[in-house]
Amino acid sequence: MTEIIKKPFNVREIREEFPALRQEIYGKNLIYFDNGATSQKPQIVLNAINKFYSKENANIHRGVHFMSQKATTEFEEARKQIQHFINARKAEEIIFTKGTTDGINLVASSYGELLTAGDEILITAMEHHSNIVPWQMLCQRKGLILRVAPINFKGELIIEEFDKLLSKKTKLLAITHISNTLGTINPVKELTQKAHAVGAKVLLDGAQSIQHMKIDVKDLDCDFYVFSSHKLFGPTGIGVLYGKEDLLDRMPPYQGGGDMISRVTFEHTSYNELPFKFEAGTPHIAGGICLGTSVGFLNSIDLDGAQKHEAELTKYAEHLLDTFEGLHIIGEAKNKTSVISFTVDGIHPFDIGTLLDKQGIAVRTGHHCTQPLMDFYKIPGTTRASFAFYNTKEEIDLFVEALEKSINMLK
C-alpha cells in the first residue's frame, strides 16, 4: 500500500477549518480549552450535516427508493471508514451507539447476561462515572463483584495492586484508555495481555484516546473499544462500540425493535446478524454518516504532527503553570495527554472558571464525572484545561495571563 504524503501539520491552517473558533465571547476572542468535554466541528462536517438533511434524508435498510438506498450506502460506507480508522477486522464489528456511555451500557447489559453470581469485574480508581455506574448496576442485578484497582498520587495505576486484583474470577477488565480528569495514558496493551492470561475480556473506554492517538484495536487486542463521535470532531448523539465478532455473536441483543430482527412472529423472533443485531430502531443516520466525514477529515491531515503539537502545548502550559505559587497540577503521570487539571490553594475552581469565562476562556471546573477520584485527592474539584490540535501557544499565553488576573482577584 502506498502512503499518501500529507502536508505537514500547520495549526494556522487547521484553525481555518473550525468556524466555532472564530468568535468573540464577552467581547474577547474565544479560547476553547474544553476539548475533553467535547470538540469543535470542522466545516466539512458541518457541510455534510447540512447536505444530508437538505438533499439526502431518508430512512435506511428498508427502502426501495433511490434516496433510501443512497443513505444506506453512505451509512454503511461510514461504518467501513471507521473500521479502517481503528483497524478492526470487519465492518460488522463496528456497532453504532449513542456514544461512549451507551456503548458501555450495551456491553454491561448484553455481555453481562453471560456472567453469573460471584464473577468479578475490575475497573480502576480513575474511571468516569460512565464506566462505574453501569457495572455497579450490573453487579447489583446479577450478584457480581466490582473490584477497583488503585492509583498512586501522580495518577498512575499501581500495577502490583492491579495484578493482585486480577484472578480467575475476573470476567471483565473495564478501563479507561486515557483519564479525562488526569490525562493519564494507561498501559492498556500490557493490561489487556494480563487480563487475557486469566481469561478475562477487556473493554477500553476510548472517549479520551480516539482523538489523541492512533488506535489499532487489533494491536491492542481489546475485546471492546467504545468512543463518542462528539469528542472526535463529529456530531453529538452518535458513537461506536467495537467488539470482536465471535464475542458479539455470542452476546444476546441489547434492545428489541426494528432493524435488529430477521423474522418476527408473535411466538418467536429470530435476530438479525451483526452489526444490526445491536442496532434496534432507526439509528442516528446523519450522525453516522457525518462521523464518517470527520474520520475522513482526520485521515487527510498529518496526525503525527498534530499529536506532536498537542504534546508541545501541554509541556508549554505545564511549564508556565509551574511558576504559580499555590497551584497544584492534579495528574502528573509520566505518560499523559493534553489535559491539565489543577487546584489553587484557598480558591474554589468554580470561581476560577467563572472569571476565565468572563475573559473569553472556556475551561471545565468541578469533578469531571469522576467523584471517586476527587475523593481520593480530597478535593472538591479541579479546573481543567484540555487542548486539541487546533489550540495555540498564543492562546496558552493569554490563558496564563487571565488565570493570573483571576487568582489575584480571588486571593
Partner: protein, 142 residues
C-alpha cells in the same frame, strides 16, 4: 444612627452601585469584595440541613428570627457565590417574614445577574432565594 432603608431602597441602591461598572470583570470584582464581607455563619451551624441544594459549590445558610425580623448568615466554598448570597442577605436582612415573602427581587434582573451566571450558578441562585423564603415562611404563623 444609620438610616433604615426600605427593601425597595436597598434594591435600588444595589442597582445604582452596579451601574458604575463597565464590564462584568469589574462587577465580579465587586461581588468578590462583597463575598469577603459576608456575615458568616458559625462553623457549628454548617450542617446538612443548612446546605442549599442546586449549587456547584457548597453553600450553607442560617436564619434567625428576632423582634419580628429575619437575620441571615451564610458561607460558601466559592467566593463569588458568597458575594451573590451577600447581595441577597443585604436586601432581606432585618425584614419581616411577610415582606420577604412578598418581595419581588427585581434587582437581580436589573443588574443582569441571572443572565450572566452559568446555568449551574443560576440554579444555585434560585436555590438560595427559595431557601430564604422557606425560612421566612416558618415564622409567618407565629
Amino acid at each position: 444612627m444609620a438610616i433604615l432603608l426600605t427593601i425597595q431602597e436597598k434594591q435600588d441602591e444595589i442597582v445604582s452601585e452596579f451601574e458604575v461598572f463597565d464590564d462584568w470583570m469589574e462587577k465580579y470584582e465587586y461581588l468578590i469584595d462583597l463575598g469577603k464581607d459576608l456575615p458568616l455563619i458559625q462553623e457549628e451551624l454548617k450542617t446538612e440541613e443548612r446546605l442549599i441544594e442546586g449549587c456547584q459549590s457548597r453553600v450553607w445558610l442560617n436564619a434567625d428570627f428576632n423582634d419580628g425580623k429575619m437575620q441571615f448568615s451564610a458561607d460558601s466554598e466559592a467566593i463569588i457565590t458568597k458575594g451573590i448570597i451577600g447581595l441577597l442577605i443585604r436586601v432581606l436582612n432585618d425584614e419581616h417574614p411577610e415582606t420577604i415573602l412578598k418581595t419581588d427581587l427585581k434587582f437581580i434582573s436589573d443588574i443582569g445577574l441571572q443572565e450572566h451566571l452559568s446555568p449551574t450558578r443560576a440554579n444555585g441562585l434560585n436555590g438560595m432565594i427559595k431557601k430564604m423564603k422557606m425560612e421566612a415562611l416558618k415564622y409567618i404563623q407565629h
